[in-house]
């Protein structure tokens, strides 16, 4: 049986993202070969008249529809659109994404404002999760982003986060004019 055929069926049936390891196990190939097959499939889906495509989320693979077909799918009705996030939520998520795992205190220090309820919301939306506790006094909870975060914002892994260029800050501060 053709590996691509099997993978397509398995990913279709799963609906949810499937780990590379699991796919490799199912088609009885090693991980590297499987990854190659998936990359090849991904390319073919992208460049043919297919309505669906293959996306990777940090080692997990999932089928989804191509974004440009959204308008047609919308006609089906009953699309469950989640309410958007607040500005505060995006900010908090940005801080967590770049500094994970990170404490609430750090988030609040950067945002300059209490972030309890925002963190709660992000947890409920499964965009962040607790990631153990810091060694600091009081052993505060740590937070990190989830696979759902990658999925919602279209990153295949955290390595895809655009660079923050924080390094430009110190120099700028050093050359402060003394007003």
């Amino acid at each position: 049986m053709d590996c691509e055929t099997i993978i397509e069926a398995v990913l279709f049936a799963s609906g949810d993202p499937v780990p590379l390891e699991k796919l490799a196990e199912i088609i009885e190939k090693d991980k590297k070969t499987t990854r190659g097959i998936l990359a090849n499939m991904q390319y073919k889906f992208e460049h043919s008249a297919r309505g669906i495509m293959l996306r990777e989320l940090d080692g997990l693979w999932q089928l989804c529809t191509k974004p440009e077909l959204d308008i047609y799918i919308a006609k089906l009705g009953a699309l469950r659109k989640k309410p958007g996030l607040t500005q505060a939520a995006y900010e908090t998520l940005a801080i967590i994404a770049y500094n994970q795992p990170v404490t609430r205190a750090y988030i609040e220090q950067v945002r300059g404002v209490n972030s309890d309820s925002v963190i709660m919301t992000l947890m409920e939306r499964n965009l962040i999760r607790e990631a153990g506790r810091d060694d600091a006094p009081g052993r505060p909870k740590l937070y990190e982003t989830t696979d759902e975060f990658l999925r919602v914002f279209g990153f295949s892994s955290l390595r895809e986060l655009p660079p923050l260029e924080m390094n430009e800050i110190p120099e700028a501060v050093e050359t402060l004019p003394t007003d």
Partner: protein, 264 residues
């Protein structure tokens, strides 16, 4: 710069996520270089904004008040005349605030990127999972010889601990009860060595000694008699036993009898 009060009133007042957000807004609005904040104007505008909020009876979060205090502090620091060159080289009082604002700006910018990406990727749709029966598959055991050994050591140590607890209890009993025949023989010989006659039930009194001790004492007495070092007399049946020292016999004979008693 225009009065911020009028502006502020037209703003959606509680729209700011925090003091940084508000400051950032003021900086953008006034087209200010973030690295060279005119602290006097900014402070003024910030205070006007807070005043506007107060007028509208909006609850002002404590963070906004803390920032107001910070701004006023920075302002007063900058008003102080610089005494000498050294002071001039000291940190700009605005520096900490600027650093925080620049950091905040980075994340705020990224949060815009996140928002855009979310919008783009929300156009992608997924399929609900099929119902796939869960099969409990017995897979290869994950075991480790190291853990096996470690568990053996642990169980042995625990066993040892338990045993030593038990034996400690036993020991306590034995400590009370253990009476060696040899010790009793030595004790009786010790009394006899003084050359005095004694009453067995006085020395080995059930009032001062345990039952085992009394019994062992009696056995020891028999040994001593056998050794020929004492003679006994019991005038009344079940009555007191009187012990009288005897002169030791020939040495050679003695050794033999002692050997015998060793064996006993």
């Amino acid at each position: 710069m225009k009065s911020a009060l009028t502006d502020a009133c037209t703003l959606k007042l509680n729209n700011f996520e925090g003091p940084f957000d508000l400051l950032f807004f003021l900086i953008e609005k006034n087209k200010i270089d973030i690295y060279d904040i005119p602290i006097f104007e900014i402070t003024e505008q910030y205070m006007e904004y807070l005043a506007a909020m107060q007028e509208l009876d909006l609850e002002i979060a404590s963070e906004f008040l803390v920032m107001a205090a910070t701004l006023l502090h920075i302002k007063s620091c900058m008003l102080l005349p610089k005494h000498d060159e050294k002071d001039a080289e000291e940190l700009d009082p605005r520096e900490e605030l600027i650093l925080k604002l620049v950091t905040y700006k980075k994340y705020k910018e990224f949060s815009e990127i996140l928002k855009d990406r979310e919008a783009a990727w929300s156009k992608v749709h997924y399929k609900l999972p099929e119902i796939i029966p869960v099969i409990q598959q017995e897979e290869e055991l994950e075991v480790s010889p190291v853990i096996l050994r470690q568990c053996m050591m642990e169980v042995l140590n625990r066993s040892r601990e338990r045993m030593s607890n038990d034996s400690r209890k036993m020991q306590r009993i034995l400590d009370q009860e253990r009476v060696s025949l040899r010790a009793k023989v030595r004790e009786i010989l010790g009394i006899l060595a003084k050359g005095i006659k004694f009453c067995f039930s006085k020395v080995f009194s059930p009032l001062t000694r345990s039952r085992i001790e009394v019994a062992t004492g009696f056995l020891a007495l028999l040994e001593v008699v056998k050794m020929g070092r004492a003679s006994v007399d019991q005038p009344v049946a079940f009555g007191d036993i009187y012990v009288t020292p005897e002169k030791p016999k020939k040495k050679r004979e003695n050794r033999e009898t002692e050997k015998e008693s060793d064996l006993a």
